[in-house]
Symmetry: C2
Subunit: 330 residues, 2 copies
Amino acid sequence: MRTLKDLGERKAIEIILELLDSMPNMPIPFGDDVSAIQIDEKLIIVKVDMLVGKTDVPPGMSLRQAARKAIVMNVSDFAAKGAKPVAALVSLGLPSDFTEEEVRQIGLGLNDGAREYEIYVIGGDTNESSDLIIDCALIGFCKKGSLMRRSGARPGDIVAVTGYFGRTSSGLKILLNGLSPPEELRQPLVESVLMPKARLREGLALAEIGAVTSSIDSSDGLAWSLHELSKASRVGFMIENVPVAPEVQVFAEKYALDPVDLSLYGGEEYELVVTVKPELWDRAREVLSGFKTPLIRIGKVIEEEEIKVRINGETKVVEGRGWEHFRSVA
Amino acid sequence: MRTLKDLGERKAIEIILELLDSMPNMPIPFGDDVSAIQIDEKLIIVKVDMLVGKTDVPPGMSLRQAARKAIVMNVSDFAAKGAKPVAALVSLGLPSDFTEEEVRQIGLGLNDGAREYEIYVIGGDTNESSDLIIDCALIGFCKKGSLMRRSGARPGDIVAVTGYFGRTSSGLKILLNGLSPPEELRQPLVESVLMPKARLREGLALAEIGAVTSSIDSSDGLAWSLHELSKASRVGFMIENVPVAPEVQVFAEKYALDPVDLSLYGGEEYELVVTVKPELWDRAREVLSGFKTPLIRIGKVIEEEEIKVRINGETKVVEGRGWEHFRSVA
């Protein structure tokens, strides 16, 4: 019989989902980035995301950074939905040989992550376990009408992202394969892995102006995110401009890697990937420029349910490859 | 430097709590059984509780039962607070050699637990980990005025519980030490471990009539629960009647164990331990009798901050010993 190793985590989720009775009138269906309960005209938004030391904490990341990241990766999903997180609950599984100082570093990191996004940790649980486990549950709110779902993209909409890609996959290669690029290259690439930022203000602002027809974060890689939006919205994308970060261009040349691959098939990157109504495009850019955040047009929504990328006049298919943890880039 | 093994899980929680900024005007302080966010006159109640295979799943418990228990132990905390759970999010950590059928059993158990208490699982996360981890986050509601806190017991109140004790500690001894009592004794004792029940209807009904001045569940053992209520309410208890289950009396005699110890210092038992206003005592009993659940008077609240038990005319101190997982009874 097949084991989890063969099945993969996503298939395991499917198996379980089939066995669960569904809540009647779920405001957000299974499979989107967050879950919700409706209360009057508000939605209570909830989300859990588990960080496991051996798969989510690369060499070079401190415990404090890992704990901070456990919060940030959850906040990123709220950002993508235009929901404001308010409080976090944190369940910890800690190895029995963890020292008092290591426990302290985790507490500091949790508070770092929470306070950066004006959240408070209001409860939790601690257990002994073989791996380091930091499981964060985030609770927040969203006005019923402003939630940005994965579904909703329409042909003609503009596909856009809130930043450049490829830094984390390059940074992980540095950390995992012990590469030594010059410091000015190393620093931003490694920093993107160790201190990820969630685009919370940007997501809330985009939800507020109603410019976005579908939205997801890019935690599983840009290609994967596009595939998820495509599936949920039943549309396709023509990508005309892969948003490769300038440092990634340099890094790729130095190590004979493909900068487009690094940008499309990375992961643990927390930009927003959105489709925008053309008539609100200028407004959306303007709003994000208030945060000094670019809104980069990378292509357009097409009717045909496939994802293509045009590079140097050549059209290729963007694969549905994702990212099931940092080990996949090693 | 001390490690988690020396510190214990409760001390680890204290270390982390000290490092966290507290949310202003928290409706429920840190240290109670659940956390809350206020929204208008309602409280949103949230709670996470992690089940770790190697410490929370005794031999003889199936995966389906373990997954069900992960939900039930969370529901029990809601019961103790008089809060109605609505939805659960479940984060799973699964060993990579888990089979498809094992994943299915977990899905079935989660649905069992949820549907027994009219909850729906509305989201979650799945990861690969060394241990089996089932971390459940529960979300629900409570009217602001009816929340039953740990604090609030006053001298003169009646101390009561919703059932008899000692079954789970006896059942665990059977499972862990391979004891073989007669089937009619074995069955109820082992069943109490494998298929725990949360007193949700009872907790909600008690909250509704406003009879309870403080409340906790007995998941860490009756003695521990009394100590927690005592600390939070700054009162003491005189226990006059330790509610030993009849099967436990027989089991203790057979194996030369102390039935009072089995009942006071067990754990993983999900009865409610409450203090009741004397003038509402009859009403409280009547309401619970509607569910065929006893409300057993075990003593009274006293001013002096200590917990004493009177057995056969002799008064002893109830120790603050708890339960930090099933291995402690082996």
